[in-house]
């Protein structure tokens, strides 16, 4: 029984990191993705193509590769070993590793989100913009007061998919030794030489994704008070 609670506590700590990575990724990737979406639709060609190539590269390569790359860049490009970097920033090595992972996640997910935003924005009929324009609204007012709500409603289903995927992707963090839920479970399996930690981890993931699905479904329903 004591062993059970020890395992649960370990897994809960791991889950804390999973949750943190999940939250940090969303908080930064949501706005960054919108900026990238604007960039990819920009009339300024160099910006547009830069963003498009960036999105193509990020979406065309494994997230794990991107995590490794981010973690190697300080040392290989700027000749600052991770240890020194951590000391300079006055944080632990573990935190530094977590930041590397988070940075890669934010960039990766921002690129995926940006394509969803772009599709959502481009799906808004041009008549909505024109109606706003003949009513004397500025471009920004048209976007914030007319277009944005409609975009959010349109992109919620594909966003929900990405958000659920993100929960599972967080397990990639262990490549840099971050103790996320799955890594904690793996440690417990090795330590106690039993398989049950994997079962518990499975239950953690399923409960979390179940709650998320309920929440996202609820928001979707809230926003479906009108038909397009």
């Amino acid at each position: 029984m004591e062993q059970f609670w020890d395992i649960i506590i370990e897994l809960t700590e791991g889950f804390g990191n999973t949750l943190l990575l999940f939250a940090v990724t969303l908080v930064f990737a949501f706005p960054l993705g919108l900026l990238l979406a604007f960039g990819s639709m920009s009339k300024f060609k160099p910006l547009k193509w830069f963003v498009k190539v960036l999105i193509w590269v990020i979406r065309g390569t494994p997230l794990m590769l991107q995590i490794l790359l981010v973690s190697f860049i300080p040392q290989y490009v700027f000749h600052v070993p991770t240890k020194e970097l951590a000391a300079a920033l006055n944080i632990t090595i573990n935190t530094t590793m977590f930041l590397f992972v988070a940075l890669a996640f934010v960039i990766n997910y921002a690129c995926y989100f940006s394509e969803i935003y772009r599709a959502g924005i481009e799906a808004i009929p041009v008549g909505q913009y024109e109606a706003g324009q003949v009513l004397g609204l500025t471009k920004n007012q048209i976007f914030s007061k007319i277009v944005l709500m409609q975009v959010i409603r349109r992109i919620l289903p594909p966003m929900s998919n990405e958000i659920i995927t993100l929960v599972k992707d967080t397990s990639l963090a262990q490549i840099l030794g971050v103790i996320d839920l799955l890594n904690a479970a793996k440690h417990a399996v090795n330590h106690y030489v039993i398989l049950t930690p994997f079962v518990y981890a499975t239950i953690f993931y399923l409960i979390f994704n179940g709650l998320l699905t309920l929440l996202l479904g609820w928001i979707e329903k809230k926003l479906s008070y009108y038909k397009v």
Partner: protein, 274 residues
Amino acid sequence: MAFLEVKDIYKNFGETQVLKGVSFDMEKGEVFSIIGSSGNGKTTLLRCLNFLEVADGGKITVDGEQIFPIDAEGKKRAKVDKKRLTFGMVFQNFNLFPQYTALKNITLAMDVRSDNLLKAQNVKGAEKKRLLKEAKEKNEETAKQILTRVGLENKMGNYPCELSGGQQQRVAIARALALSPDILCFDEPTSALDPELTGEVLKVIKQLRDEGRTMIIVTHEMEFAKNVSDKIIFMADGVIEEMGTPAQIFDAPQSEKTRAFLSRSNEQEAGYDA
């Protein structure tokens, strides 16, 4: 000097010349209908007046003030003290905002304008909050009155998807009216409607005519154009082929093209009846 003076408007889309020098004058309170076959530039002309397209050449003057082409100074002025719109526009497909109720569709732009006006007067802080709230309440009152005038007093809280096409178009007309434009433009306001719903929209437009609104209406409804207009503009090939009173155009057309167009549209209408 006429209230609206449109002079030599040109517009190309790439290689295609769509408007090739369109000129006409209009007095306050007049109603003009623009007729002509498909693809002759009727919509493009309205869009140039509303600045949805930028004309390649020409001049537009309203009430003595040149609004196109406009210099930087004029642009600044137009932004700051725009109490009313010069042109209002009612689209063929209504273009209502689906996420807002009929009432909010109308007050949205009014509220933005109230906010702009307060900003221009440099009102700030709590004072601004109070005045804006007052203005919004007044806007809502006005919007309700306008909706009542177009016969939608029972639909104020409904979303566009809950309204029939005719009701949606009446909301769109109310939305344009709410900003008290000098000149209200309609681009085939009944073309997207089932035949049995056109009547209610045309009735509203007639009512506006009787109130003395200045209006330009692009339409394929010949009977309506005849009844409601002071002048008919017949467009062909990007120019005004013929212009005159309904009697002149419908009973004694001078141009061969006008005659051909009218007999074709008569046949079509007869065809519908059969």
